[in-house]
């Protein structure tokens, strides 16, 4: 025990926060609301529990690998366990305000919160649904008639 190095949980959290969503470079998985718990014990064993946007999300392996790699690089970490939780369920209100701003400004992606209609990230105009099927399970496709733009919408 005397040789064990105590690792602050903040260091672990920072390492996890350094991992970006593989399809949104620059958007941390923390801001996307994927991180449920981070724990580290006195033996340097780290446990991270994540919540998938969708259980069938094809990026789960890649995200878990990235988290493992980032955490393993922290001084004093002896092992890392990354798990995916089936509960709670991910919803778009888990996305932080920073996350929403990054999605809107860098990727022109809107976020739908609950049944409330989302607005155009470019001009604030109302969006018209185009298709519930986007390039991934967590996104649908809308359009803004005001500024003539095709908009992806993150949804739960």
């Amino acid at each position: 025990m005397s040789t064990a190095q105590l690792i602050s949980i903040d260091t672990i959290r920072a390492a996890v926060a350094s991992v970006d969503d593989p399809e949104y470079p620059g958007l941390s998985i923390v801001d996307l609301g994927l991180v449920e718990t981070c724990d580290v014990n006195e033996r340097g064993e780290v446990t991270i529990e994540l919540v998938p946007t969708f259980t069938g999300c094809p990026a789960l392996n890649v995200i878990a690998d990235d988290v493992t790699q980032a955490v393993a690089a922290v001084d004093g970490v002896t092992s890392t366990h990354v798990g995916w939780l089936l509960s709670p369920t991910w919803t778009t209100d888990r996305i932080s305000d920073i996350g929403k701003a990054i999605l809107a400004e860098r990727f022109t992606v809107a976020v739908q919160i609950g049944p409330k209609a989302s607005t155009c990230p470019r001009c604030g105009g109302p969006l018209t649904d185009e298709s519930m099927f986007g390039p991934s399970r967590c996104r649908s496709v809308s359009r803004c008639n005001a500024c003539v733009e095709t908009i992806e919408v993150m949804r739960a």
């Binding site: 593989p22 399809e23 949104y24 470079p25 069938g56 094809p58 990026a59 392996n61 890649v62 860098r106 990727f107 022109t108 992606v109 185009e130 298709s131 519930m132 099927f133 986007g134 390039p135 991934s136 399970r137 996104r139 496709v141 359009r143 500024c147 003539v148 733009e149 095709t150 992806e152």
Partner: protein
């Protein structure tokens, strides 16, 4: 046109509702239409491999790519349709009638899983490099913004491609032979995805759709992938391959452009089958579109 070109040279961005010269509109539209067609044809190829893909890990990556490519096609068709040249239905009808273009690589058949690895590793890298070069300086705003998202997702595909390549390259001799066969089939089509040398006054360059000449992008791909494949012990199917000690660069020798020309006229080895399969798929999925377009029944409407 001079004023318009001066505007573009100053970094001006054209939006969907803006005035633009007809020539510019047609050139940008044709470029986006070809990109949309390529995403759709690529997505359908990927889909064919879902049941045949070995192992759950790779199967998930194939499912992901399929959904991404079809989704990209969808977004691009919307952006293209907003230009007012053709509707989405007209674009699809032209595609299925063999009257519009899609990338050369989707005119070949993926024969083995090794081919799928080569496509994900070599072809996707070439496509990504081309798209990045367009995104860098693209004067048409709606396309530029869609490209930003497509590129982020294609970057994710590259990781899946590297994962596939590492697994097959570190596998048994049978796996390595499978991949070498795929390299032999796909090296040249992947290289030709960049197209022949850009013309001196290429209007896509002049109008800031492309930001880099085809031959520059192609050469960068050669400099990266020739040594990379060799470092894993695979050979390059170029009999005249040489390395220039003075410039420290690889040279693949003369390029036979006839196969590329054939694909542009829908005369590639697998063009006819690909196009008829795409049409068949379109007809088979009509019920889904009908169901989505149908008004909700009174019972459904009451429950919402």
């Amino acid at each position: 046109m001079d004023d318009f070109e001066a505007f573009l040279n100053d970094g001006g961005i054209i939006e969907a509702g803006d005035d633009m010269p007809d020539e510019y509109r047609t050139a940008v539209f044709t470029f986006i239409e070809m990109h949309a067609n390529s995403e759709l044809m690529g997505g359908l190829t990927e889909r064919d491999w879902i049941p045949k893909t070995p192992g759950l890990r790779h199967k998930m990556s194939v499912v992901a790519k399929t959904q991404d490519e079809i989704g990209h096609g969808h977004l691009l068709y919307m952006v293209a349709a907003d230009m007012g040249v053709k509707t989405r239905t007209e674009m699809l009808e032209d595609l299925f009638a063999g009257q519009s273009r899609f990338h050369n690589v989707f005119h070949y058949q993926a024969e083995t899983w090794g081919d799928q690895v080569a496509i994900a590793f070599l072809v996707d890298a070439a496509a990504l490099a081309s798209q990045q070069a367009v995104f860098k300086n693209c004067s048409y705003g709606p396309y530029r913004r869609i490209l930003k998202r497509i590129i982020s997702e294609e970057g994710f595909h590259m990781r899946l491609g590297e994962d596939r390549m590492m697994r097959i390259a570190n596998g048994s001799q049978v796996q390595r032979d499978l991949f070498q066969g795929a390299i032999d089939r796909w090296f040249w089509p992947a290289l030709q995805l960049f197209g022949p040398d850009s013309k001196p006054h290429d209007k896509l360059l002049r109008w800031h759709i492309k930001s880099e000449r085809n031959e520059v992008l192609r050469d960068a791909w050669v400099q990266k992938f020739v040594p990379l494949l060799q470092s894993y012990g695979f050979s390059i199917p170029a009999p005249d391959l040489g390395f220039d000690d003075a410039t420290q660069r690889w040279d693949v020798g003369p390029i036979d452009w006839e196969p590329l020309k054939a694909t542009l006229a829908q005369g590639g080895p697998d063009s006819a089958r690909r196009i008829s399969e795409a049409l068949h798929n379109w007809e088979q999925t009509a019920w889904v579109r009908d169901a989505l377009d149908a008004p909700a029944s009174p019972e459904m409407a009451a429950s919402v």
